[in-house]
Structures are given as structure tokens and as C-alpha cells.
């Protein structure tokens, strides 16, 4: 019975995400219709098809888009589970990317077989370092991590631009030099499978990261501490959990995830370079969307990352019909926007299918304690009463 109920809860979360997606796509369709009604429907179908449009190459493209945003999504989602809003994924991502490239070009002393691995580890360390700053400030001085991590994005971006120019700069193209072959992620036959060079073992590393984060959050005492601090800092202190340590470690891990994302993207051997521009890496912000849509659950993040990448590929394709790919960004924004109503959707859904569940509940109500009318409800009644009276008085 219990397993069924759990499924049921996950099911409503999933349904409410689907509702948000449907709303987003509807808005996308309207935008397409408004801008060019003739080609709107074929373009819309193309968006839906996304990565399936182009056979295995399209799928490879989806994976390529998905890898960095799943990683930044994990970063944001992990921090969020522990009560922190990591907007600094972009900076951590950029730092990771730079260090990966730097190692990939300069560290020729590393044995060739593990060069890429060392570069990835370097990316993680760099991201972790960049994440630790806001964590330390939050833990010891109670500085809001949102503000510090935004600032760290800019500091990171300019620092990386500066460092590129000093170290691995291709002045002709205003970008980084290509990394050595030994630093490019092994293909492990993936290129043959998908018939394109965009893919590598990167997706497996992402899957490993998803599983590791899932295990940390769900199965370990460490994850228990992190979630406890995120959910109620005071109670964690009362329970003797070192909340300063938890905050810092949480940001360090979040930073490492973003940094790894940067490393995976720029070592994928797809001809991607860091351009020396004053622009924050968009992958960091996509990560927020991915985490929100995936409800901060590692597996949800993995799926939502794939889904958003799928839409992005579709958005790329609709240029055939002279639509701009930015339509996709709008669709994604609406989805996220509706995702904020996920709770509302959840309530609607559970109300629609509530009856069977209540029957199971009634069994536990042995008549003496009215559970629905809990203490919390009581205060809610009072609070609402207060609000309404105040409004009433204001009106007069």
C-alpha cells in the first residue's frame, strides 16, 4: 500500500511537470502562429520532434546540449536541496572549463592515457573552489549566497578572460587554443554508434554523477545532514549538526558539479572554445531551469536536462522555416514559469484523484485524533484570520 502511495506522490509531481510543459508548448505554438501562421504547424512539429528529426546525429546533438546543463542543473538542484540557491553555477562552470582547457593544453607532463581525467578533475577542483567562496561567506558571516554567487559569476568570467589572454589565447580568433588530443574525452565507440564526432563518454560521466548525487542525498548520513540544514537550520543546530560545515560542503559539491560540466563540454572534442567575450556562460542559468523543472531531484534533473536539450535542438532546426531559435527560450521560460505553479497543479491533481487515498488514511484515524485538523492547520486558520482582518481594516 505504502509503495503505491509513494508512486502516487511521484506520479503527481510528474503529472504537474507535464502540465507545465504542455502550457509552455501551447504558448510556443501561439508565438509561432503570430509570427508566421503558415509555417507555424510544421515548425511546431519540428520542435516536438527535436532530436529525433535527424536520426542518430540528432540524438547525439541532444546529448551534447544536455551534458553541460544536466551538470549545472545537478549543481543548482543539489544546493537547493540543502537550502541554498546557487546562482553561481555559471561562474563555477566557466572556471571549470578554463582549468580543463588549461590542463588540456599545458600539462604535457601528465601521462597521455589519463590526461583527460586529470583535466576533468582539475575542472571539478576549480568549480569547487569557486563555489566555496559564497559557502564560506554564508556560513561564517551569514552573507546571502545569492548575492555573492552572482558576483562570483562576474569575477569568474573576467578572471577567465584575463587568464585566457595570458596563457592559452588564440589571438586570431579571440578564443582559446584547441586542447591536445590526449585531453579530449575518449569516444569509446560512441562516435561510431551515433555516426558523429560530437559524442563521447561524457554522458556516462553525467549518469555516474546523477547516481552519486542521488545516493548522497537519499542514502547517506552526510546527505541527511545537508538536507536537515537546508530544511531547518535551527533544528539542525539543536540536533548537533555542524551547519557551517554543511553549508560550505554543499556549495563545494555544487561548485564541483558545475565545474565538471564545464570540463565535459570543452573537452568533448566538438570544436567548442571559450570566446573572450564579456558574457556569462548561459549553461549556468539553464541549469536553474533544468533544476526547477526536475524539481531538484537528481533523476528529474537528468530527464529535464534531456528534454530541454531536445527542445533546443528543435529550436535550432526551425530556422529552416525562418523562425528564430529564441522561440525555444520563450517556451522554456513559460514552462519554468508554470513549473512555479507546480504546487497548484499538484493540488488540482491530488484533488481529482483524492478519494481512494483518503480511504487508506481513514484507517489510521482511530476516531480520537482529528488528523486533518492538525495544530498547523489551526495556526493557519488564525493567521488567515489575522490577514483578513487587517485587510478589512485597511479598506475602511
Amino acid at each position: 500500500m505504502r509503495a503505491k502511495l509513494l508512486q502516487y506522490e511521484g506520479f503527481t509531481s510528474f503529472l504537474s511537470s507535464l502540465m507545465a510543459i504542455a502550457a509552455g508548448l501551447l504558448v510556443g505554438l501561439i508565438i509561432l502562429l503570430v509570427s508566421n501562421s503558415e509555417d507555424a504547424f510544421p515548425a511546431f512539429v519540428m520542435i516536438l520532434k527535436g532530436g529525433f528529426e535527424d536520426g542518430s546525429r540528432g540524438m547525439a546533438q541532444v546529448l551534447y546540449f544536455a551534458i553541460p546543463i544536466i551538470m549545472t542543473g545537478l549543481s543548482v538542484g543539489f544546493a537547493f536541496k540543502t537550502g541554498l540557491f546557487n546562482i553561481g553555477a555559471s561562474g563555477q562552470f566557466t572556471l571549470g572549463a578554463f582549468v580543463a582547457i588549461y590542463i588540456g593544453i599545458k600539462w604535457t607532463f601528465v601521462p597521455e592515457q589519463i590526461h583527460w581525467l586529470v583535466a576533468l578533475l582539475g575542472a571539478m577542483v576549480a568549480g569547487a573552489f569557486w563555489g566555496s567562496g559564497p559557502g564560506i561567506l554564508k556560513a561564517f558571516f551569514n552573507v546571502n549566497e545569492v548575492i555573492t554567487s552572482i558576483m562570483m559569476n562576474y569575477i569568474g568570467m573576467y578572471l577567465v578572460n584575463m587568464s585566457i589572454v595570458k596563457t592559452v589565447y588564440d589571438s586570431l580568433k579571440n578564443q582559446t587554443k584547441p586542447v591536445l588530443k590526449s585531453a579530449i574525452l575518449p569516444k569509446a565507440g560512441m562516435d561510431k554508434l551515433f555516426n558523429t564526432s560530437n559524442v563521447s563518454i561524457g554522458i556516462f560521466i553525467v549518469i555516474i554523477a546523477v547516481i552519486v548525487i542521488y545516493i548522497i542525498l537519499q542514502k547517506t548520513t552526510f546527505g541527511y545532514e545537508l538536507k536537515a540544514c537546508g530544511s531547518n537550520k535551527e533544528a539542525s543546530r539543536y540536533a548537533g549538526i555542524n551547519e557551517k560545515r554543511s553549508i560550505i560542503l554543499s556549495m563545494v559539491i555544487a561548485g564541483a558539479l558545475s565545474g565538471l560540466g564545464g570540463g565535459l563540454l570543452y573537452l568533448s572534442g566538438s570544436g567548442k572554445y571559450i570566446h573572450v567575450l564579456d558574457v556569462l556562460a548561459p549553461e549556468g542559468f539553464s541549469g536553474i531551469s533544468v533544476a526547477l523543472l526536475g524539481m531538484s531531484h537528481p533523476i528529474g534533473i537528468f530527464l529535464s536536462g534531456l528534454f530541454i536539450a531536445h527542445l533546443e535542438v528543435g529550436g535550432f532546426n526551425i530556422q529552416l522555416y525562418n523562425f528564430v531559435p529564441e522561440v525555444i527560450d520563450m517556451i522554456i521560460s513559460v514552462i519554468i514559469y508554470c513549473g512555479a505553479f507546480a504546487l497548484l497543479f499538484k493540488q488540482i491533481i491530488s484533488r481529482l484523484i483524492s478519494k481512494p487515498v483518503d480511504d487508506t488514511d481513514k484507517k489510521n484515524i482511530d476516531g480520537s485524533v482529528p488528523i486533518m485538523y492538525s495544530g498547523a492547520d489551526n495556526t493557519f486558520v488564525e493567521d488567515e484570520a489575522e490577514d483578513k482582518t487587517e485587510q478589512g481594516e485597511d479598506k475602511k
Partner: protein
């Protein structure tokens, strides 16, 4: 016109839950009508319907024999219904006068006519014997005075039906007595009062009739004078309640907890929140710290348990200095803490029951191996606590704690804290907001600890609790201990004088 309020056959449903089921409530003109019931019995819901915050699914309301529909608080206000809420709604940097006229200001071309208002307020305060100082700031006056301001506010808007929602919870015995007088005065002047409470003594003293609700159902309306407290409580709870707590004689053992010259400075002012406090709790003793809220008892407990740093002094547990130990070390050494605010400190509301059950012990080998939580062991343990301490919840160990009732949340905390088999239990207002049944249960648990020879430090604002449960009372006033009293030899009134700071034991004379 016999009744000023007639609420007939009111039914209110939230979702699938009947908060009120066919409740009838009638108040006569010029009476104090008590509304009695446990938490969750539907008292607040019923009054919220009368005040226009909710609409009933079924039933009708008549005010002074006229059928009315009350859709919002403004309607209620037009029908001359006023309410003093449990938590006052006053603006702290307003004067008393400004607070009273707020929302009903008389203006001349946009300029406040304070003089007229002042005259009316002073008239009212004299007529109803509500002593106030119109020019004092709300932040400077006592809670009792703030309540008088709230009452004046209702009178200023000519309310005739006054609803008092648990008005005595925050008052000292002297202030309660004064409030009772005021209520009697108001009734004499033709007002009608609804008095929501679950304190039988007060109802017995001030009310004329009493309506009892239980689990959303109307149990009956009785004449207070001819009904005993025992009968009323039986109506409220549905079974007999034992008012006399059985206690064995005190077994005085060694000092389990000693506090020496403890001082905690305030963050915001130069005043010490806790000033040079020393005491010892012995094995087999329930020591109670009594005092009016905000006199340093919370800080004292946070200091002892390590949640806030202490500036001077020592804390000893069974003779061992634990002043500088971490919260966890203290907890492992045998200190249990039932915190004042169960939502802030005691529980992680979004976690389920089993995860809250191991909040302080999850790292012990019995619940984890190599950093992985042994969920089977945790579940078993939670099941054991549920059974042993009779914790009721929608989905047993998988219930999200937020969805549990206040009493069961508290039971969970008590279970967790007592199951650690502590040497000293520090319980801060362990029964706040709980109904009689749960209160009785928690008192029994604390006394069982004491009878096992363990020490209990109880911090309470409820005088009944202080008098009934404790073996010894320390009174705290403005951060200092002002009295060391024996509950058997002192009256509630005398205790109130200590709490209000107007009396000190010789030994604490400054």
C-alpha cells in the same frame, strides 16, 4: 430579544473533514458565554464564521433576531461584533491613542482630529475602568495594558458583541484577575461577551453559561454555576480527567545539573538577558523555572544547551564541566532538551516521522554503517517509538511531520528525547498549545523520569503546570532568580507577585 447571537446548525467542511458538524451556539444579551473545547474542537472555526472569515456550508446566523449573512470582517464590524485576538494586532511604535483610533480616525480636511478621539477614549476608559495612558507607546507598555488597548479599540468602534480568543494565555495572575473584573464590568454595561478558553478555572469564575465543543460537534450548553469543573472537563474531553497528579515523595540524589553564575548578554542592549544565575537540579527532582515570558528563561535554556554562547559562568552535568562542549557532546553526555518552539528547533517539518526520530542519533552505529543510513533500523526504531509513546499520524513512520497534529508532534519530540535515557531533561513549555489529554500524558512522562531518579528542569509559563508538576520553583524576573519556592507552601497569588517582580526571597535581595 433573548439572544444577541444565534448560530443554528452550523456545518463547515474543509476538504473531506468536517470541522463543524451541526453546531448550535446562542449567546444571550449581557452574558459572558464561554466557548470550551480542546485544540481542534472547532472553536476558532466557529468564531471565524461569526467574524466573516469563513462561510458555513450549512446553517444560519441571526444577530439580534435578524437573519444575517456575514461575508467578511467588515460585515461583522458593521454588526458591532469585535474580536480580541490571541496575538494582539498593535503597531509597536504607535501611541495607545493612535492605536485605538487606527482605522476609525475622524478627520477634518484630511487632518486628524485627535482631541475628539482623546476625549472619547478617556471617557470610555473611565466608564469601563480600563486604565491606560493614551500617550504611552505600545512597545513600552505591559502585555496586560496592550490587551486593554485592544478592548478599548473594540469599544471605540461601538462593538456590542465582544469575542475574546484565549485572552489569558499571556497574562500574569494579577492581570488575569483584572481582566475578569473588566469583563464583568463590560457585561454590566450591556455588552455580550464570548470567551474562548480551555482553562476551567477562569470559565468558572467569569462565565455565566458555557458551550462545549468536541471534535467539531456540539456537546451541550451548561449553566456554569451549577456545573462542576470535573463535569465540564468530561464534556470537553469525553472521558474523566485526573486533575491531581500522583507523585511519589522527592528522592534527593546528587546534583545532576549545576549552573554557576551564568550570564548571557543581550545582543541589542547592554542589559544582561541572564544575570548571574546559579542553581542545581538534583536527581529525582522536577525543578521548575517560572516567570512571565521574556524574562530570560529562553536564553537561560539556550545557554545551558549550547544553542547560544554564554558570556560568563559554568554548566556542570553530574559534576563534569560541560560549559564549552558542543551541542552534540552535551546530548551524548545525557542532556535532553524538549525545546520551546517545536517547529523552529524540535522538528524538521518536511522530513518524515522516522527521520525526525533519529535527528540526534542518526550518526550512531545502530543507525548507520560507513556513512550510509540503515533505513531498516531507523524504521524499526520509529515503529517502536510510535507504539511505546502512542504517536498517532496519518501514515505512521512515513508521515511527513508537517501533516501531524501539534500534540503528536510534541509526543514525537518527547519520545525522542526521553528514549535517549537522559540524566537531565530540560523541558521548555512542553505542553504549550496542547489539549488536556496530551498535556496529562506529557506530565506523566516527566514525572516518570523523576521517579526513576533522573532530573527534570521544567520551564513553564502556565501557573497550573508550575504548581502541579514541580517539586521546587525558581522564579526568574528580568534575567535574575528572585525566588526559590516550595509549591506546597505557596499560593498562586504569591507566585504571581514574584513573577511580576514585586517580591523577592530574602536570599535573592539585591
Amino acid at each position: 430579544m433573548e439572544y444577541v447571537i444565534e448560530m443554528n446548525n452550523i456545518t463547515k467542511i474543509f476538504g473531506n473533514f468536517k470541522a463543524l458538524d451541526d453546531v448550535t451556539f446562542k449567546v444571550r444579551r449581557g452574558e459572558v458565554h464561554a466557548l470550551l473545547g480542546e485544540n481542534g474542537a472547532g472553536k476558532s472555526t466557529l468564531m471565524s464564521i461569526l467574524f466573516g472569515l469563513y462561510q458555513a456550508e450549512k446553517g444560519s446566523i441571526k444577530i439580534k433576531d435578524n437573519p444575517v449573512k456575514i461575508n467578511n470582517p467588515n460585515d461583522a464590524s458593521n454588526l458591532k461584533i469585535g474580536m480580541v485576538h490571541q496575538h494582539f494586532k498593535l503597531v509597536h511604535n504607535f501611541t495607545v491613542l493612535e492605536s485605538i483610533i487606527l482605522g476609525r480616525e475622524t478627520v477634518n480636511m484630511g487632518i486628524l482630529k485627535k482631541d475628539d478621539a482623546r476625549k472619547k477614549v478617556i471617557d470610555l476608559s473611565e466608564r469601563y475602568k480600563l486604565r491606560i495612558d493614551p500617550d504611552a507607546y505600545i512597545s513600552d507598555i505591559t502585555v496586560g495594558m496592550q490587551q486593554r488597548v485592544e478592548i478599548l479599540k473594540m469599544l471605540y468602534s461601538d462593538s456590542e458583541i465582544l469575542i475574546f480568543d484565549e485572552p489569558t494565555a499571556v497574562l500574569t495572575p494579577q492581570e488575569i484577575e483584572e481582566l475578569m473584573k473588566i469583563m464583568k464590568e463590560l457585561v454590566k454595561e450591556g455588552k455580550s461577551i464570548v470567551f474562548i478558553s480551555h482553562k476551567l478555572n477562569e470559565i468558572k469564575e467569569v462565565a455565566d453559561r458555557c458551550t462545549v465543543l468536541r471534535k467539531g460537534k456540539y456537546i451541550g450548553t451548561v449553566d456554569v454555576k451549577t456545573t462542576s469543573k470535573e463535569q465540564m472537563s468530561e464534556m470537553m474531553v469525553g472521558r474523566k480527567i485526573n486533575f491531581n497528579i500522583d507523585k511519589k515523595d522527592i528522592i534527593t540524589g546528587q546534583a545532576f545539573l549545576e549552573v554557576k553564575n551564568l550570564t548571557i548578554k543581550s545582543k541589542n542592549s547592554k542589559r544582561n538577558m541572564v544575570n548571574n544565575v546559579s542553581f542545581a537540579v538534583k536527581g529525582g527532582e522536577i525543578l521548575c523555572i517560572a516567570g512571565i515570558d521574556g524574562n530570560g528563561q529562553s536564553e537561560l535554556v539556550y545557554g545551558i544547551t549550547g544553542l547560544i554562547p554564554i558570556n560568563e559562568g559554568q554548566v556542570l552535568l553530574k559534576g563534569k564541566d560541560i560549559t564549552k562542549e558542543s551541542v552534540r557532546k552535551k546530548s551524548m553526555d545525557g542532556m535532553s532538551h524538549i525545546p520551546e518552539d517545536r517547529h523552529k528547533h524540535g522538528l524538521i517539518l518536511d522530513f518524515d516521522l522516522k527521520q525526525n526520530a533519529v535527528l540526534q542519533t542518526y550518526f550512531q552505529p545502530r543507525f548507520q554503517k560507513n556513512g550510509f543510513i540503515k533505513f531498516n533500523a531507523v524504521t524499526e526504531y520509529a515503529k517502536k517509538l510510535i507504539k511505546q509513546y502512542d504517536i498517532r499520524s496519518p501514515r505512521d513512520e512515513d508521515s511527513i511531520v508537517r501533516n501531524m497534529s501539534g500534540g503528536n508532534q510534541q509526543k514525537l519530540i518527547v519520545a525522542r528525547e526521553l528514549d535517549k535515557d537522559p540524566d537531565i531533561v530540560i523541558a521548555v513549555q512542553p505542553t504549550r498549545g496542547l489539549d488536556i489529554g496530551a498535556t496529562e500524558y506529557i506530565h506523566k512522562q516527566l514525572i516518570a523520569q523523576r521517579d526513576q531518579g533522573k532530573a527534570v528542569l521544567l520551564v513553564s509559563l502556565e501557573l497550573d503546570e508550575v504548581m502541579d508538576v514541580s517539586d521546587r520553583i525558581l522564579v526568574i524576573y528580568e534575567g535574575e532568580i528572585v525566588g526559590d519556592l516550595d509549591p506546597k507552601k505557596i499560593t498562586v497569588e504569591e507566585l504571581g507577585l514574584y513573577m511580576a517582580g514585586s517580591k523577592r526571597s530574602d536570599k535573592y535581595e539585591s
